[in-house]
Symmetry: C2
Subunit: 269 residues, 2 copies
């Protein structure tokens, strides 16, 4: 396959202009070819997930962030749906409740990190505390500035203690969002996903893009990288996410545990 | 009062020889005088705890560590017993269970940090993961080395997000521990506190002292300091812990919230 996942990874410390990055891209592949590659990756992903589960000494955390209607739910359904749910948990972070607000911003996040052997998927995450919280000025500026470091320290701790982290930003254009939001309004079956406040957040599009740029510059590290995924072609989006997943799991040095007994000596009575 | 609590605080980055510090000390006070001061501090502590609860924007975390039989339980009973239990929770950390072991070492700790307005008391803590885990070599050396930084980052995050942390080491001599453990063996009402493994840990006394010295050098910071408390005179131990508590709460800039209404306009029907 010709896709080099590192092309989509934000190098540590690099400042990014999101506007300059494609939202609609096909990696020079035909759609059919891409779908075939994706299916192959899904088979690999299933095997690797079983290996992760059997190895049981490490875990994988996938963070998904995006503007509204960029396709987070669809990505989860397509890439993580086929994975054995016994070893994969999706957690959606909405606005914090009162108990969560009575603790530090990482409290509810930390509770939900995957246990060893498991894959955890965060639909939104602690990054909201430097995105919406920053754009809407829900915390002092100084607090936001400190949080980038606290996020890096938290993720670095997870990494050193056995949790690999990959972070995906599903990148779409403002025009694409408009089409998608309108489709929700026009379609009775999609209407439940529409929230009038989505329109408000859309008016702050440029602020959000800037807040994301700060996140990429400060919180993409060699250990815990951010990937910017052109998300307007769904098949390419799924393909890229699956490929990063497979490569990451392959790099984790997972092993089936060696039996503590000789299977030949065991007689099933 | 002539006690200067900073005399017992470990300055940031300072290497300490615990052996050179007193275990039995009275701060040049008579016992009666000390008890009187302690009772005055308890009254202040109750008022400050109510203020913390009313203010509800910050919390206080107290970490207690010590060798076996040094008086952690007795300290908790004497200093925290008189506090309104509605705003004060004690959490004892024993050996981790299987679910806790399937996560990073700070996972169970973070879940139990006090919510805003509350005091949390940790009877043992995340420091066990660089104490018993180090002495008994339950994790690779490299992992231990990383953990000091991860602990500092974790505590620094809590501090910046509104949780003040004070850490007490109840300092006793090996001879004193012998007397205390023997008393547990000889007294049927105290026998339940004795565990044969305590004797094993005692044989590694010097290793533990070294592990504590590393903790003090690496993890006492200006923001989140360690205090080494001479613990063989119980009344002085209680007095010092209460004084640090009071001073810390006084420095937290707590305020009763201003009413959002004019009490004079309210008529109780």
């Amino acid at each position: 396959m010709s896709i080099n996942t590192r092309d989509y990874m934000v190098p540590e410390g690099k400042s990014i202009e999101i506007d300059s990055l494609p939202t609609k891209y096909d990696g020079n592949l035909e759609r059919e070819e891409g779908l075939e590659l994706f299916n192959e990756l899904l088979l690999k992903l299933r095997d690797l997930q079983e290996l992760l589960y059997a190895d049981s000494s490490k875990s994988l955390l996938v963070v998904l962030q995006a503007m509204d209607a960029a396709g987070k739910d669809s990505t989860i359904r397509n890439v993580f749906g086929p994975i054995n749910p016994q070893g994969c948990k999706v957690v959606s972070f909405k606005g914090p409740n009162s108990v969560e607000l009575a603790h530090d911003f990482l409290w509810r996040i930390h509770q939900n990190v995957p246990r060893k052997g498991h894959i955890g998927v965060f639909n939104r995450s602690h990054y909201e505390d430097v995105l919406i919280v920053k754009v809407r000025e829900l915390a002092p500026k100084e607090t936001i500035t400190q949080r980038y470091n606290h996020i890096n320290a938290f993720e670095s701790m997870l990494h050193d203690e056995g949790t690999r982290i990959i972070k995906f930003f599903l990148h779409i254009s403002k025009d694409y969002q408009k089409v998608k939001l309108q489709r929700r309004l026009d379609n009775p079956d999609k209407l439940w996903k529409f929230c009038p406040s989505d329109v408000q957040e859309r008016t702050r599009w440029e602020d959000y893009q800037k807040a994301y740029e700060a996140v990429f510059e400060k919180c993409s590290t060699e250990k815990n990288p951010w990937y910017i995924v052109p998300a307007e072609r769904k098949w390419f989006r799924n393909l890229l996410v699956a490929k990063v997943m497979v490569e990451t799991l392959e790099s984790m040095d997972l092993k089936y545990p060696t039996a503590q007994f000789d299977p030949k000596t065991i007689v099933i009575p």
